[in-house]
Symmetry: C2
Subunit: 169 residues, 2 copies
Amino acid sequence: MLTRSAKYAIKALAYLARRPEGGAPVRIGDIAREEKIPQKFLERILLQLNRDGILYSRRGPEGGYGLARPANTIMLGDLIRRIDGPLAPIPCVSVTAYRPCPDCGDESSCGLRLVMKEVRDAMANILDQTSLADMQKRSDAVKGALAETRPTAVKPAHARKPRRSNPTS
Amino acid sequence: MLTRSAKYAIKALAYLARRPEGGAPVRIGDIAREEKIPQKFLERILLQLNRDGILYSRRGPEGGYGLARPANTIMLGDLIRRIDGPLAPIPCVSVTAYRPCPDCGDESSCGLRLVMKEVRDAMANILDQTSLADMQKRSDAVKGALAETRPTAVKPAHARKPRRSNPTS
DNA sequence: TTTATTCCCTATCGATTTAGTAGGGATAAT
DNA sequence: ATTATCCCTACTAAATCGATAGGGAATAAA
């Protein structure tokens, strides 16, 4: 289960992703009000993402937060790992935070581990291939489909060719 | 993340699944010792699964626990839901325990929800199609592959045709 | 029928995590 | 100088997790 922190983080950053790139920074208070997130709670979350280099910030009047990178380079998997920790259901199948089971005799043939590795990979395939921009596109596609005669379905990100993570490279 | 309870439950039931079907019941103490699980802790878990009808039990000397159904009809998804609750990362995409987000304006076009629904479905596709017997088969396949010249790979359960949940029907 | 063994049941407990609040300090635009 | 904003630490109430304690009820075997 996602914690509220991770959920808030994603909603807040999705909000920032909707603003014109390179525009003026946005106040925490505005994000909190629009997305209905407790302000002081959100403050701590954005603070961390700022330290992590996902956000930039400016202090004082006219200050606020903005995305430090283009929205199509910020992956949900990365955000969730930073806030909630590893995606893996059990540590022995985590790629980013592997830890062996203290008791497991032969790890390579542990049935539970084999299944949970599949689960981890399935989650990671989605979350590491879906950016803030992708998420927004899919939301827009649903909204568009309600209004259009010929709805244009947007494929889930993991069914498409992976994007380069840095579009400037 | 799986709780220890769910992990213990699966390991304990996998242990029971390895015994001859219809054989004598197995003591909690034996399972706990073999699988290195705190006995009193395991007791509470098996008690619940007994109430849920997954296990049968017999008291007194020669007593113990056994699977109440064939191992190929007991799905990991079912076990995990009973012990840990819903698979879904957020309640608004849960099939078995749906609850709306209190704040979400238009649920159908919420980008986060669309992505998390994918994640839930990916997890459910694996865990609801993998039985205790499947898990064991995959473990055996790995062990076999280490010994054999031409290893026989066993496909993940969700890539095969779904089995009927009750083989007697 | 007694006794030993096993499951059944409830209560409790310490540690950790979660979800938030409080209260300032540092910085920068006006 | 003033004021708006981010920055930082500490604190807290409640829930959850992982486990232990201490018996009660049933039943097989002596």
